[in-house]
C-alpha cells in the first residue's frame, strides 16, 4: 500500500510571521521554514501505521511525503524523510509562486495522479494560509471520497476509518480506498528524528518535479499547462495588522469589579 502524506513548509509559528506588503505573500525569508505542525503529526500517524504494519506482517506500507513549495524549502522534506517517510516528492516551479488554492489543488492532484496513491493524508488546515479546503478540492479533482477533519484514523487494507468531533457528538466515518482524508492536530506528537534517520534521509529518493513534468496529468484533469502559471484569485492589497494598543490596567482600590464590568459594557462585551 502506498500512502502519500501532503506536508507543508510554513514559517515557524514560534517566530514572528511577516506579510510582505509588496507581494501580499508571507515573507518566507523573515522566519525559519519548518514543517507545518498538523502535517508533521499526520506524518507521524502514518509512519506509526507503516511501522506497525511491517511488525505485524500485515504488509508493507510505503510512505511518501509530498509538497508543493519554493525550491529553498527542501530541508523540511529531508526532515520528513528523517522521521521515516520512504521517499519525497517536491513540486517546485517558479511559475507557481503565488498560486491560489484552486491552482495548488490542480497541481497537487496532477502530482498525486502521477505518484499513484491508495491513501492521501493531509492536515485539515495549515498554520499559515488556513484555507482548509485543499483535501476536499483534491478529492473532487481526483474523484475520490473525502473524509475530513478526522481526530483518529485507522487504516486497513481496503478502507480508512476515523472519528470527527462536532458540536453535537462524535461521528465515525469510513471510506473505501483509494481516498483522501484530512486530520487535525489531535494526531500524535511527532517524533524527534534519530541520527540514523537523519543520516539515512540523504540516501532516500527526493524527486523534484517541475510543471512540465506534470503536463500529461494536468491535461487529464482538463487544465492547460500555460494556464497553471497564473493565479485566478489575485491579492489586490495587503496591509499590516495594526500594532496592538496598550491595555488598560485597573488597579484594585475596592471598586475594580465595578470598573471592569463598566469597561466590558462600554465595549458591548458583556
Amino acid at each position: 500500500m502506498k500512502i502519500v502524506v501532503l506536508v507543508k513548509p510554513v514559517p515557524d509559528t514560534y517566530g514572528d510571521r511577516v506579510l510582505s506588503l509588496e507581494t501580499g505573500l508571507a515573507d518566507r525569508a523573515a522566519s525559519e521554514t519548518v514543517l507545518d505542525e498538523i502535517t508533521e503529526r499526520a506524518l507521524e500517524a502514518v509512519i506509526r501505521h507503516a511501522e506497525e504494519s511491517a511488525k505485524s506482517g500485515a504488509g508493507e506500507v510505503e510512505v511518501v511525503a509530498m509538497t508543493m513549495a519554493p525550491a529553498d524549502s527542501q530541508s523540511t522534506l529531508r526532515k520528513a524523510l528523517a522521521m521515516g517517510a520512504a521517499s519525497a516528492v517536491h513540486i517546485a516551479d517558479e511559475r507557481l509562486a503565488g498560486a491560489d488554492l484552486v491552482r495548488t489543488a490542480e497541481v497537487l492532484a496532477a502530482a498525486l495522479r502521477r505518484a499513484g496513491a491508495d491513501l492521501i493524508v493531509a492536515g485539515n488546515g495549515s498554520t499559515d494560509g488556513s484555507g482548509g479546503v485543499m483535501p476536499s478540492m483534491l478529492a473532487e479533482l481526483l474523484e475520490l471520497p473525502a473524509a475530513t477533519r478526522l481526530e483518529t484514523i485507522e487504516i486497513t487494507a481496503d478502507a480508512v476509518r476515523g472519528t470527527r468531533e462536532t458540536d453535537g457528538g462524535t461521528m465515525t466515518v469510513t471510506a473505501a480506498l483509494p481516498a483522501v482524508v484530512s486530520v487535525t492536530e489531535r494526531m500524535p506528537d511527532p517524533r524527534f528524528p534519530a541520527l540514523k534517520g537523519i543520516m539515512g534521509a540523504k540516501k532516500k529518493p527526493l524527486e523534484v518535479v517541475a510543471l512540465d513534468d506534470l503536463s500529461a496529468e494536468l491535461e487529464g484533469l482538463g487544465v492547460a499547462l500555460d494556464e497553471t502559471a497564473s493565479a485566478r484569485s489575485i491579492m489586490v492589497a495587503a496591509t499590516q495588522r495594526p500594532a496592538r494598543e496598550a491595555g488598560e490596567i485597573i488597579t484594585d482600590d475596592g471598586t475594580a469589579g465595578e470598573r471592569i464590568a463598566a469597561f466590558l459594557a462600554d465595549r458591548r462585551l458583556a
Binding site: K79, A82, R191, F192, P193, A194, L195, K196, I198, M199
Partner: protein, 387 residues
Amino acid sequence: MAIDLSTYSLTDDELTLSEGVRDFAERVVAPVSYEADRTKTLPMDVVAQMGEMGLFGIPFPEEYGGQGGDYFALCLAIEALARVDQSIAITLEAGVSLGAMPIFNFGSDEQKAELLPALLAGEALAGFGLTEPEAGSDAGATRTTARLEGDEWVINGSKQFITNSGTPITKFITVTAVTGETDGRKEISTIYVPNGTPGFTVEPAYDKVGWHASDTHPLTFSDVRVPAANLVGQRGRGFANFLHILDEGRIAIAALSTGAAEGCLEEAVDYAHKRKVFGEPLASRQNVQFVLARMQTRVHNARLAWHHAARLRDAGKPFKTEAALAKLTASDAAMDNARDATQIFGGNGFMNEYSVARHYRDSKILEIGEGTSEVQLLVIARALGVA
C-alpha cells in the same frame, strides 16, 4: 540571540541533530527540570524518550542497535541537553561513556551482543565504578579486590559517587578491582556486576549540591560472586582501560560544560534586555555588556576546544592532551558563566525556579568529575615535559 552553530563547520547532519536535540530539550526536558531538581528524581519518561530518539546509541555501529554516528555527534547531543538541564545531559554522558563504552571498547563479542542492545536503546543503563573512598584522582589506589575461585570472581570492597548506578533501569556496574600482584605492582582488572547480585548493595543516594536529578550512589560489595566470564577485557588491563575511558569522557564533559555555559549566557542576555533598573534595561550598562561579551567568548573557546578534541578522537589520532585542555577550558567557562549569570539575575539568581540558579549549583561538579581541574593540569604539564 542563539549562537549560529552553522558557523562552526558542522555538517548538515550534525546541524540537524543538534537542532533536533535542542528542540527536544526545550519542549520535553525544560518543562520538567525544576520539579525533577526539586524532588531529586531522574524523570524516567524523559530518559525513555531519549532512548527512542536513539541518543544512547549515537556513537555505536548499527549491528548492536547503534546509530552509526561518532563521538562528535554524541557530544553535540550532550551539549544541546546541558544548555537546559545538566542532570539529563550527564545521564546520557555517563550512560554512553561510562556505561556502554567500556563494554564496546574492551568487551568480548558475546558480552557486546548480550549487553549492548538494551543500553544503546536507552532501555537499560549501566554505571562505571572506579572511584573509591580512598581512590579518587589517584584511581590506581583501588582497594576493591576480586579473587578468582573456580569459575567465579569473588568481589569485596566499596565504590563511591557512582552515576546511574541505582536507577529503575540500571542493569550492571563495571567495576575496577585488584585481581592480583605482578612484580610487587597491583594488577587491576575490570569486571561487570549485575545489579541484584547477592552481596552487591546500592546504598541510598547522596545528598548532592547539584545535579539533583542525576542518580548517584555509594556501592558496597561483600563476597559478591559473578561468573569468571564477567571479566571485561584482559586481566590486568583495567588501569589502561579506564584511562582510555576517562580521556574520552573528558571530551563529553567539555561538551556538557559548553552547553551549560551557553545556557547561562542565553538566560543572562534575555534577562539583561527585560530587567529595568533605574529606568533603563540592564543591558544598557556597559559593565553588563562587557560581562555578557566575556561570557560569549568563553562559550566560543570552550566549544572550539571540545570540537577539536572530538575530531581528533574520531580521526583515530592522539587526543589525551586536547581532551584535558577542553575539559579544563569548558568547565571553567561553565562555572564562570554560571556565576556571572546569577549575578546579572540579582536576587532571582538565587531562586531555584530560575535555571541560572540550577546551573550555578550544577556547574561546580564539572571542575571535579571525570578528573579534577588539577588532574587536567597535570596531564597538560606532562605533555609539556615539565611534570
